[in-house]
């Protein structure tokens, strides 16, 4: 520890930090721009100037930049020194020379770091009387609005976009007071993380273009803590609402999960909740009373109750990996565990169960997303993380820098000296090894890249395991090249500080998952107890949670329906046409006399329902999901939705009551009841109740407000419908109010925290005030609770056998799913911006295979999938191994199974 003095006060601090970080952590208000907790210090803006003194006798001192000065033992500085204060004020004055008077019309106003720092330094008078420099703006695509006149040249945008996130097309251009941050020409920003620019930019240069379409001032928005719905990572978000409409998504800091960032799918995919495909009233699409008109909620519940009573045991429930634990549990209780099925096809269910099995039995532990960035040697088996779980890709980019940066530190360069470290590191990358069928964005950070079919990827993983631990089974007929690579990877994992193996379900191969587990296990064994970790991704936000609830799968459900055992099918928030393909979905739904569907979107499955009940999506409901790590996280509604929309479990509860049932879920009044039932039914899931405080929680005797105390329009909002002031709705599920009334003082428990504000800090920089240590956990602990810790020493058997090598076939091709960040995920694809970037269906072929088939890029070919013939245009992918064809996963209208198997390819 180092002793330093700040304005005469003595403090004990960590000498590896810089003075700016230390001052902020100690609660001092020191202004800054270019420093960012995730991006380090570069010393460009000169805003954080303080006066440093040689010793207690030095009363002259000199101006230094706090962000570029180590908090070394004996350091003496003054923040309040008049010269330093004057200098900081002058920096704002210089920035204001060109900054336009845009506040009243600028989207950033109210959460603008420049506004905050201007007020903090006290600059308030314009002496500059000449013309300002101006810029032309660019169209950067559907997500990011560009207004360059506001730029204060802090360089954060390119440091995040290029250095941190690996982007190539956003650059610093020009020089002197005409520096420009943009693309070489107008066009869609290529990085999957471009959305973070709206939070990284301290002014309104980069703002949320989707938010601009339905803009509202920050203080007029209701906020709730939430979780992203669009992949299995479970990044924490803040959802904002006004006038009953979901307006935007922002990052909610969670040091153990996503840190400061989100991906573009998570940030901009929310508009599905505002799409015209939303169902807000009960409908009767099919059956004897088929009509498009709405039916009252009471009548809907009664109808459901009648159907339940009539069906008795001849009922089948289909849950969903995108529905909450509580809703899935309600269905399971309603139909009984033996009749509960996961709304995923058998192949996928098997993969999800494999992941669960691996996590439960270890010995490798699943690390959190936050820990991935601190790993220094990684084996990636199969996953194209940039598309399937983008924040994982962002974390892996940081992992690739760990070892080279540690080497650079040997030159005496401090850990916060960002540019000096990057200069010393150059292009060096750590021991990152990547195996996948097609090229990925992460190829550029890998030391070695292997292109292979899933079987061979699994074989590589098994070979690495065997190289680490000779007791592990050998891979038969392993090519010498692969053996040498496996040995190299094994050495890297064995000797690293924090080795990691990454895999997932997206290739549809259980062998790959087992191979990853095997490699991680062997690494742990070789390292004699020093950590070796595993990170497995799944398709959806609650895939793991659904797997933990047990039950059958869609293929088993179809079998039961075909056997004639089922009268009534209850589908919860699942699009069966998408999950199992149109053929199986039609078969299943047609085989039941009655179909009840609960969902928030009009899907093909919903259109087959006799009774369609409108469920709440994440911003309008509350619940719990379990992410890929096994972390249970609670999300809360931002507002009470219009119409008859309510949580899925509430519909099931209403149906149960209408059917005269007494047991679960009929007795549930709120989320706490559901979670208590969860704990009793499935003890493994019991800790989920602790993911957030219960609805009865009070902070200084009050609940917590969703609205700020500047929230306006409350009494006028409904005036077009009624002049009577509406009674504020109550939230039975959370200790949160929908009004501005509630506790304003001390910070709430982190799982409820959604108003990250501190006096003088109205922007996202306020996260600093809610962390123990900057970029560390939130005060009170990062939200979410891990449910699975591997039982030590519980596994004695190795997974055998490793699969046979991939062998090309004469007349058919091995299909592998290719994932797209925009387009492959169900909900976000309905957001217009995301949809505009989604590809149209295609079949990817290597040039050699295309040549042998005599097809060129763009030509139509015919394949067979799930018993049906499909015509698709060819897209050449030079990186695909021979004999392998790529099929895009999850595109609307193109069913791609978890494991698409083999197909012939013909010209139509």
């Amino acid at each position: 520890m180092a002793r330093i003095w700040i304005d005469g006060h003595e403090h004990e601090v960590d000498p590896d930090r810089n003075l700016l970080e230390v001052c902020l952590e100690l609660g001092y208000d020191l202004p800054y721009f270019c420093w960012h907790p995730a991006l380090g210090s570069v010393g460009a803006c000169r805003q954080c100037a303080v006066k440093q003194f040689k010793d207690e006798n030095d009363d002259e001192g000199r101006i230094v930049m706090a962000c570029m000065t180590a908090a070394a033992d004996g350091t003496r500085i003054s923040i309040t020194d008049p010269e330093a204060h004057e200098f900081r004020r002058s920096i704002i004055e210089f920035l204001m020379v060109n900054h336009p008077h845009d506040c009243p019309v600028c989207d950033e106003g109210g959460e603008c770091h420049l506004q905050d720092m201007t007020v903090m330094t006290g600059h308030d008078y314009r002496a500059f009387r000449f013309d300002k420099r101006t810029h032309r703006n660019q169209d950067l695509g559907p997500f990011i609005e560009h207004e360059m006149n506001r730029c204060i040249a802090c360089y954060r945008c390119v440091r995040f976009y290029d250095d941190y996130a690996g982007g190539k097309d956003l650059r610093a251009l020009g020089a002197h007071d005409h520096v420009y941050f943009g693309r070489q020409a107008d066009g869609v920003l290529e990085s999957e993380f471009s959305g973070n620019l709206v939070e990284v930019c301290p002014t309104g240069v980069f703002t949320d273009k989707t938010f601009k379409r339905h803009y509202s001032r920050k203080w007029d928005l209701r906020t709730a803590p939430s979780v992203c719905a669009h992949c299995s990572l479970g990044c924490n978000t803040l959802v904002n609402e006004r006038y009953g409409e979901l307006r935007r998504i922002r990052t909610r800091y969670n040091g153990a999960v996503n840190g400061y960032f989100l991906c573009d799918r998570g940030r901009f995919g929310y508009d599905f909740a505002n799409s015209e495909r939303r169902i807000r009233h009960t409908q009767l699409p099919q059956g004897p009373d088929a009509q498009a008109r709405a039916v009252s909620a009471q009548e809907a519940a009664d109808r459901a109750g009648r159907l339940l009573r009539d069906a008795d045991e001849r009922i089948l429930g289909i849950g969903s990996p995108r529905a909450s634990l509580e809703s899935n549990l309600a269905l399971r209780c309603l139909v009984g565990p033996a009749r509960f099925h996961a709304g995923v096809e058998a192949a996928q269910a098997q993969l999800d169960r494999a992941v669960l099995d691996v996590l439960r039995h270890g010995p490798a532990r699943s690390c959190s997303l936050g820990e991935v960035g601190r790993c220094d040697a990684v084996l990636i088996l199969g996953e194209d993380a940039t598309q399937t779980a983008p924040l994982l890709a962002l974390a892996l980019r940081q992992a690739a820098r760990r070892q080279p940066t540690a080497a650079a530190r040997q030159l005496g360069i401090p850990g916060w000296h960002e540019h000096a470290l990057r200069e010393a590191v150059q292009n060096a990358t750590g021991p990152i090894y990547l195996a996948s069928p097609a090229a990925t964005r992460l190829d550029e950070i890998a030391r070695k890249v292997v292109r292979a079919a899933p079987e061979d990827i699994a074989r590589l993983g098994f070979a690495v395991a065997q190289a680490l631990d000779p007791a592990a089974p050998a891979v038969p007929e392993l090519a010498p090249q692969a053996g040498a690579l496996a040995a190299e990877i094994a050495e890297a994992l064995a000797t690293a500080e924090h080795p990691l193996v990454v895999a997932g379900t997206s290739l549809g191969s259980e062998a790959v998952i087992r191979a990853a587990a095997q490699a991680a296990r062997a690494a742990a064994a070789r390292r004699e107890g020093r950590p070796a970790e595993l990170f497995l991704t799944l398709p959806a936000c609650n895939s793991l949670g659904l797997a933990m609830l047990g039950g059958g799968d869609l293929d088993e459900a179809l079998a039961r329906v075909e056997k004639g055992d089922v009268d009534t099918v209850l589908v919860l928030e699942a699009d069966l046409h998408r999950q199992a393909g149109p053929a199986k979905a039609e078969q299943l739904l047609a085989g039941a006399a009655h179909v009840i569907v609960l969902d928030h979107l009009a899907t093909d499955t919903a259109a087959r329902a006799e009774l369609l009940l409108p469920c709440a999506p994440f911003a309008e409901g509350s619940g719990t999901w379990v992410n890929n790590e096994g972390r249970a996280q609670r999300w809360f509604r931002a507002f009470v939705p219009d119409g008859d929309v309510q949580d899925g479990w509430r519909w099931l509860r209403d149906a149960a009551r209408a059917a005269g049932r007494k047991g679960h879920p009929a007795g549930w009044e709120n989320l706490d009841d559901a979670l208590a039932a969860l704990g009793r039914e499935l003890p493994e899931l019991a800790p989920a109740a602790q993911a957030a405080p219960s609805a009865g929680f009070l902070q200084v005797g009050q609940r917590l407000p969703r609205a700020t105390h500047r929230y306006s329009g409350r009494t006028a909002m409904e005036a077009d419908r009624t002049v009577h002031e509406p009674k504020p709705p109550q939230d039975a599920d959370a200790p949160l109010t929908f009004s501005m009334e509630g506790a304003q003082g001390p910070p709430p428990p982190p799982a409820l925290a959604h108003d990250f504000w501190a006096p003088g800090w109205n922007s996202v920089q306020a996260f600093n005030r809610f962390q123990e240590e900057i970029a560390g956990p939130l005060r009170g602990g990062d939200p979410g609770i891990r449910l699975i810790e591997p039982a030590a020493g519980s596994r004695t058997d190795w997974f055998t056998p490793p699969p046979r090598a991939f062998a090309r076939r004469q007349a058919s091709w091995r299909l592998v799913p290719l994932y797209h960040i925009h387009g492959s995920e169900e909900l976000s694809s309905l957001a217009p911006g995301v949809a505009s970037l989604a590809p149209a269906p295609y079949l990817a072929l290597g040039p050699g295979d295309a040549a042998s088939l005599q097809v060129a890029d763009g030509d139509e070919v015919e394949i067979e999938l799930g018993g049906r013939k499909l015509q698709l245009p060819v897209r050449l992918r030079p990186d695909l191994p021979a004999g392998v064809a790529g099929l895009p996963s999850g595109l609307p209208g193109l069913y791609c199974p978890a494991d698409p198997g083999w197909t012939e390819i013909a010209k139509p």
Binding site: I63, I91, A127, F130, A153, H176, D177, A408, L411, Q426
Partner: protein
Amino acid sequence: MEKVLTRNIRDDRQPPDLKAYVKAGGYQGLRRALEELAPQEVQKMVEDAQLRGRGGAGFNAGKKWSFVPMGPDAPRPKYLVCNADEMEPGSFKDRLLLEGDPHLLVEGMAIAAYAIQASHAWLFLRWAYKLCEQRVRHAVAEAYAAGYLGRNILGSGYDLDLHVHISAGRYMCGEETGLLNALEGRRATPRSKPPYPQVSGLWGKPTVVNNVETLCNVGPIVTHGSQWFLDLAPDSQDGGTKLYGVSGRVRRPGLWELPMGTTLREVLFEHAGGMLDGHAFRGAIPGGASTEFMLPEHLDVRLDFDGPPQVGSRLGTGTIIVLDDQRCPVAMLANMEKFFAQESCGWCTPCRDGLPWAHKLLVAIEEGRGRAGDLERLESMCRLLGPGRTFCALAPGAVEPLQSGLKYFRRDFERHITEGRCPWRTS
């Protein structure tokens, strides 16, 4: 006086080819270094000779070299870079050396590279110096052919590759760390020191950057010894000679090689012939645009690295810009600040946003649109853009002439404002 830098330079500036250079005693220094001296001995020799950096900073060159990690465990490769990006307004001394005796530089670079055990050397040359480029490339080719560069130089076992790199053209590329970034193909913004280039320089490896004139002295020092070099400047603690340049309304603008520590009076009135008829000497900026004015009362100051600081100025590059009484000092300063504002790289706030403001104020004052408070604003800006406040030395250098001009020519500034016009303009 014995000439060191210009002994081979002819009036028509035709450089000696390799044969002529060797005949005149060239490459003896390189030979002596490779055959008789260990690298660290060369460093010591140059340090003892008090060869101070001629790029303007005046840091002892041999001492700078001594910070490079040496020995078998030192990071490799190591690099030597010659900063030939001469763009300081008023400076044209390196151009003379590059055009007139390129082998002198090549030899100096080779010896310096040997002293730090660099395997590669770069000559980073200003884009506008086309004739220099032509002649230097020719000299380098000759040196390779004769075995003074490349593998196993003069049979010593030492290898060195020397590359000529043409700058893309900004003043900032002449700043040591900006140059390194430019050489790496990146934006020419400076780096924060520490770490110093000797620790992490070009591509993160140990690197030394030296000025052309500095390196041209290295061959003679190694040939004749440190004491000989010190003896060349009897009136100074610094060693060797200096190329002094003069521009402005003097009878003979030009360049002269003179002992380090020659007085301003001697340079201006003896060698440059004094002022043109009808023009009186008002002041001079001794070292290129980013230094402070020296006045008639300072004419007897010795122009080495220690003299001008005693009167609040700086030697800088030693190329003197003269202000006569027929020229408006405000206009002169407006012109200089325009250069600096335009050449700001745009990295740090005070330089990027402050210098254009200063320029706009000076133009306004010069055009009779100055207001009360403008001079105080300019003075305040000189303080705010001082050393340590900005990321590099461009802005502090930019305000050096402005700050001293405001001090010495205050009355002229005030007249612009109170009279609403420039007193030097007749119409």
